[in-house]
């Protein structure tokens, strides 16, 4: 495994790009904080998994993708979707179960997809996106495209069978796919290390001939630089790659989990490595003022608040919508 360290402001990082990374991260943070507030306020039905603290991975990875690059995501996927280009109005609409949602209210937080920007969907099944990303890469290659597929998954998913199958497969057919293990150290309520044997996800990848790169996922510039290099290689035909991004989840498993099971000292230490605060310091050194950063934060909060308001005002789907989009042949018809 190689390890990537960013040089602040270096490695192709001008202030403009860093600012865009900052904007993406604060938009993700604002989206999820707004979603949590809405959930607590009873505006949102169902479970909510947020990725607060992990924004550097989504932002750094997706900054290197085109709309025709495909991405599969997991149950903690709001950040992936936003960074890939999904729109907060349709995302909040989906969270709230409204007709204006990406899936007309049929998916919810765990199933957001926006095929128009290559976001092939979040997934309620841990590891579920791995074979799909591999197949997307195979299809893209077959169609003669130089687009790549990216698969975002958590450290917990590397203990599922499709991880072994998918990596072996991608290496075998030399597919254009980037596996991103977003390693927050926990799988739901369990420390992943306590249920995982061996030297880790990168070693597993390398044992299958998939090169692996380790990166500090809370250093968005490092993630951006590493992924820029890796994706360029994949596009040029190098075959699959795995990025192991170490990060930290600030919250419990779902928004109703107060995370009393977590060690408070560890949580404090994790929060101290906030990817947003860290980039803010880097930006300051690059000549971007705190006021400018604050303005981006305020703007993001206002944007998400507006989307929340819009979604709350949106119509509920009509009963007939429950019968749409099942299948062409043999679909049941809605009856009033």
């Amino acid at each position: 495994m190689t390890t990537d360290n960013a040089t602040p402001g270096g490695a192709g990082h001008n202030a403009a790009r860093l600012k865009e990374l900052f904007r993406t991260m604060v938009r993700i943070r604002a989206f999820e904080e707004t979603a949590m507030a809405a959930h607590q306020n009873g505006e949102m039905p169902g479970p909510l998994h947020v990725s607060i603290g992990q924004e550097g991975v989504a932002a750094g990875v997706c900054a290197n993708l085109r709309d025709d690059d495909r991405l599969t995501s997991n149950h903690r996927g709001h950040g992936h979707a936003l960074a890939k280009g999904a729109q907060p109005d349709a995302m909040f609409g989906e969270l709230f179960g409204r007709e204006s949602g990406y899936c007309k209210g049929k998916g919810g937080s765990m199933h957001i997809a926006d095929f128009s920007v290559g976001m092939l969907g979040a997934n309620g099944v841990v590891g579920g996106g791995i074979p799909i990303a591999v197949g997307a890469a195979q299809g893209l290659k077959m169609l003669g495209s130089n687009a790549v597929a990216v698969c975002m998954f958590g450290d917990g998913a590397a203990n599922r069978g499709p991880f072994l199958e998918g990596l072996n497969w991608a290496a075998l057919y030399k597919l254009p796919v980037l596996f991103v293990c977003e390693d927050n150290g926990v799988a739901a309520f369990t420390a992943t290390a306590s249920v995982t044997a061996g030297p880790g996800v990168s070693a597993r990848a390398e044992s299958l001939g998939v090169p692996a790169t380790g990166v500090d996922g809370n250093d968005v510039a490092a993630v951006d630089a590493a992924v820029g290099r890796i994706v360029a290689g994949i596009r040029a035909g190098s075959g699959p790659h795995l990025l192991h991004a170490k990060t930290f989840r600030w919250t419990g498993h779902t928004s109703t989990d107060a995370a009393a099971w977590r060690d408070p000292a560890e949580v404090e230490a994790g929060k101290a490595r906030c990817p947003i605060a860290r980039l803010r310091a880097t930006l300051f050194e690059a000549g971007v003022s705190g006021a400018e950063c604050d303005a981006m934060v305020t703007e993001a909060a206002a944007e998400m608040q507006a989307s929340r308001t819009t979604a709350n005002a949106a119509a509920w789907p009509a009963g007939a919508v429950a019968y749409d989009d099942v299948q062409d042949t043999g679909a049941m018809k809605w009856q009033a």
């Binding site: 495909r70 599969t72 949602g101 990406y102 899936c103 007309k104 209210g105 049929k106 998916g107 199933h111 997809a113 926006d114 095929f115 092939l120 969907g121 997934n123 309620g124 099944v125 579920g128 791995i130 074979p131 799909i132 990303a133 591999v134 197949g135 997307a136 890469a137 195979q138 299809g139 893209l140 077959m142 169609l143 495209s145 597929a149 069978g161 499709p162 199958e165 998918g166 072996n168 497969w169 075998l172 057919y173 749409d324 989009d325 099942v326 299948q327 062409d328 042949t329 043999g330």
Partner: protein, 327 residues
């Protein structure tokens, strides 16, 4: 039907159908174990020579990824045929089939087009025991989001496969593996056969018998015996169990007043129960003199020939059930 027909086996009929569609549409490809050497059953014989390793992809023994990669490739616009080798192995790919393929179109509000054909040769086959003989098509009839083809003749194998490959729905295609050798006439240009249209095997006025897939030849024998005994059965092969031809079955039962559904699968919880319930509901119980089903007992398929024969639904058992329905 266009062109000259050839007398071919059901296996060859399916091969010709896939060949025709792959020649016509470059987006169609096959993935599964051993398909480059023709597939376990020879159903892709010589395909590798014609289409190459990109479109006839022999895969690792990775059923989750065979199924899931097929889906991923469909989501970017290709049209995969996912070969499961033997139906029973689909158990290793249930998440990808049930939670992903059957759900993506709905869950994502219509954005996804999971145009895959999943081929699953099923049923009892020469003493292959409990893990290579199952018929669980009823499970999948219970699953929204998919269509289900269960052919029994060479003609239907060809025509239904063409429809399946052209369909934007995920199609679960249950090849009747004990019937690979039955022969039929397949035209030079294979026309699609619509799903949900039953095939009339015999017309009669005394009793309706409904069947599909591997039990069709046994039902065929039974109806001849019944005819000799003076019972004229109206016999329908459903060909697809989702959608299924409710109108044709209802019209037949309206005429005969009696219904017997026969399938190779276990009777308890089998699709026969669904057929009976739907028809009784549609026609009203007061208009039906008998509504029965016959399937295998609720035991796994045993290995030893006498044991396997013990649980088979035979022509004799079908005749007995039909006669019981006549009283």
């Amino acid at each position: 039907m266009a062109g000259v027909s050839a007398r071919v086996t059901l296996n060859e009929a399916g091969r010709l159908a896939v060949l025709q569609e792959m020649r016509a549409d470059k987006r169609v490809w096959v993935l599964g174990e051993d398909v480059a050497r023709g597939g376990l059953w020879g159903q892709y014989r010589d395909f590798h020579d014609e289409f190459g390793a990109e479109r006839i992809v022999s895969t690792p023994i990775s059923e989750s990824t065979i199924m899931g990669a097929g889906l991923g490739a469909a989501l970017v616009g290709t049209r995969p045929i996912i070969e499961m080798r033997i139906f029973d192995f689909v158990m290793c790919a249930m998440d990808e089939l049930v939670n992903q393929i059957a759900k993506v179109r709905y869950m994502f509000g219509g954005q996804a087009t999971p145009a895959v054909v999943v081929r699953m040769p099923h049923g009892m086959w020469r003493n292959s025991a409990a893990q290579h003989s199952q018929m669980l098509e009823a499970w999948f009839a219970h699953l929204p989001g998919v269509t289900i083809a269960t052919p029994s003749t060479a003609e239907d194998q060809a025509g239904l496969l063409v429809t399946a490959i052209r369909s934007d729905d995920p199609v679960l295609f249950f090849d009747p593996k004990d019937l690979w050798g039955v022969e039929g006439d397949v035209p030079a240009v294979i026309e699609p056969i619509p799903f949900g249209k039953a095939r009339v095997m015999r017309e009669g006025s005394d009793l309706t018998i409904v069947t599909w897939s591997a039990l069709t030849p046994q039902v065929g024998e039974a109806m001849e015996t019944l005819a000799k005994d003076g019972i004229k059965a109206d016999v329908l092969d459903l060909r697809t169990i989702w959608p299924w031809d409710i109108d044709a079955v209802a019209a037949s039962v309206k005429k005969t007043g009696r219904l017997l559904v026969a399938h190779e699968a276990v009777e308890v919880g089998g699709f026969g129960g669904e057929v009976v319930a739907t028809i009784v509901d549609r026609l009203g119980p007061q208009n039906i003199k008998a509504a029965k089903r016959i399937g295998a007992p609720r035991v796994p398929v045993p290995f030893s020939p006498p044991l396997e024969n013990e649980i088979r639904v035979t022509p004799e058992k079908i005749v007995a059930a039909a006669k019981a329905a006549m009283v």
